[in-house]
Amino acid sequence: MDEGSHSVVEETRQRQLLARDITRAFINEDGSELVALKDFSLEINKGQIIALVGPSGCGKSTFLRLVAGLDEPQAGTLLYNGQPIAGPSPDRGFVFQQTNLYPWLTVANNVAFGLKARGLYHEQKHRVQEMIDLMGLSGFEKAWPHQISGGMASRVALAQTFIQDPGVILLDEPLSALDAFTRAIIQDEIVALWQQFEPIIILVSHDVEEAVYLADRVVVMTPRPGRQIADLAIDLPRPRERTAPDFIQIRREILQLLKSEER
């Protein structure tokens, strides 16, 4: 780290998650370089929901993987609670794009996976049932993942991560496979979970409406190289009304930003 590192640490006292000048490039099979993120900076305060929107290849998912510790930046500083991120941790939960429940585990055992892996299951057994009840999964504890609907699978995936009570939850298009109706219900459930557990949530979405509905801030990104072009605060009260003029106005703004970049 450079001589400015001390002030950076100071800053993260308030800004729980801090990314500064992050660069991550991949080498394609033909040897050409694909810059997924270029000098990308982002500061996130405690308990905020941040939505990253933008077309494919703008580095949204790459950023999530960096925060999760599944990947490392080639340049830049990435701090969580003042500490550099090194490797995955149960304090930074990740809900993957394909709600990948473990098909060989029942719903209850999927929810309990993290607790069992960390050896906390015996003392915190009751929390599994609480989480299952909270997510409306009661009665399906013993069901196999292939027996439940897509909406329920999303709930199980959320329960699996939220039961760990992480400081950061990364959502990589978690609802993209669902129909619009189920998606709207589960968006409300995400807000309710967020209000109870108060984590930072970083949401990657192709759906601008979803981003505006859920997020405190929407970060608009563009591809090649992936960088940020706007950071909009959404000050609408919750629960939000999708058809309110303010809501529509913000949506329009973001869509126009994305469109102007395409040209």
Partner: protein, 354 residues
């Protein structure tokens, strides 16, 4: 900030506002009732094997015994009557129990055909002499030999099963260990995979003389040949499946706080179970082959050896009796293996049942 109660309220609220509440999102598979009265058509179809048995019995009793001269059958008719009694019991149970009925309905044509075919065989041997002794004994003769030689058959079968079980279990254990090691560790893979490539594909019969001499014990040598036949497919398929575990499963477990060791046993191994189930079948088939080879060239005991010895002295009635015992044992073991597979893969959708 909303409290937990409020969240529950909110959840309830959203469920009320939208008619299809979460519960209806899932359609549990409709369960068929266990007990149900059969329809007339089903009763008739279930009776088909009776027709087969009675036709066989009638032909057997009515046609004169001509070959060999002065031979009077004693076993075939009682056996057919015993079959009638057993099937009658199944028939009555199937009238009440739906799962058994479904199975028997599917088998009914097949069973009827089997008895008719056996009667054709009876006619071709005992009743006309079209198929000649000593090579093709009549069914009556085969059953007579089975009854007369039953103690020896039982002894041979138990010797075969002991050898098979010892070799299979040791091979399975070694295969599980080396499969997991090869799949997870590059170093283990470096040292084990050459062994796998050289030793694995060679049939047990080839190894046998070397092992018997090498271990200076025909029993240990035979077990070693069986172990290789089982160890090879298990190690190969398990290690490949573990190496190909979906990366997202592993990364997901990492973000949930799982250690490397925990991931091996709770993610990679269960993800490899479908491949393991297939490998178990290959191992079982391979072990049957290796068992026969070991009995002929190694331990000099068991069913396969008896078949060969009796064949050499042209006692084909006994050969047939031993073959029946082998068919019974091998098909029972295969059915058992399918039960194990169905249990291992009970979480899979649309599994083909045996």
């Amino acid at each position: 900030m909303l409290g937990k109660q409020a969240i529950k309220q909110l959840r309830r609220g959203s469920a009320q506002a939208k008619p299809p509440a979460p519960k209806t999102l899932m359609q549990p598979a409709p369960k068929a009732p266990l007990l149900q009265k059969p329809r007339l058509r089903q009763l008739l179809q279930l009776a088909l094997p009776f027709v087969g048995i009675f036709v066989a019995l009638a032909l057997h009793q009515l046609l004169p015994n001509v070959y060999p001269a002065n031979y009077s059958p004693r076993y075939w008719a009682p056996i057919l009557l015993i079959c009638t009694a057993i099937y009658a019991l199944c028939y009555l149970l199937a009238c009440a129990l739906v799962p058994l009925r479904r199975r028997l309905l599917r088998l009914s044509w097949l069973l009827a055909a089997v008895f008719l075919l056996l009667e054709i065989y009876d006619i071709a041997t005992l009743k006309t002499g079209t198929l000649k002794l000593p090579f093709i004994p009549s069914p009556d003769k085969v059953i007579e030999q089975f009854v007369v030689n039953f103690p020896q058959i039982l002894q041979a079968a138990s010797a075969s099963l002991q050898l098979l079980a010892t070799g299979f279990i040791i091979g399975l254990m070694l295969g599980l260990v080396s499969g997991v090691l090869c799949g997870c560790s590059r170093i283990a893979n470096y040292w084990i995979s050459p062994l796998l490539k050289i030793a694995g594909p060679v049939p047990g019969l080839v190894w046998l003389p070397i092992f018997v001499v090498g271990f200076s014990s025909s029993r240990i040598g035979s077990i070693a040949a069986l172990v290789i036949a089982v160890w090879f497919p298990i190690t190969l398929m398990l290690s490949n499946a573990i190496k190909n575990t979906d990366l997202e499963y592993i990364e997901h477990a990492q973000t949930l706080g799982a250690s490397r060791l925990y991931i091996v046993f709770h993610v990679m191994l269960p993800a490899a179970v479908p491949a393991l189930a297939n490998a178990l079948f290959m191992a079982l088939a391979g072990s049957f082959g290796a068992l026969s080879a070991a009995e002929l060239a190694g331990v000099k005991s068991g069913l396969a050896l008896a078949v060969k010895q009796m064949g050499t002295i042209a006692n084909f009635g006994v050969v047939f009796a031993y073959v029946i015992a082998m068919i019974f044992i091998f098909s029972t073991l295969t059915a058992l293996m399918f039960a194990v597979r169905n249990w291992l893969l009970r979480w899979q959708k649309g599994l083909v049942r045996w």
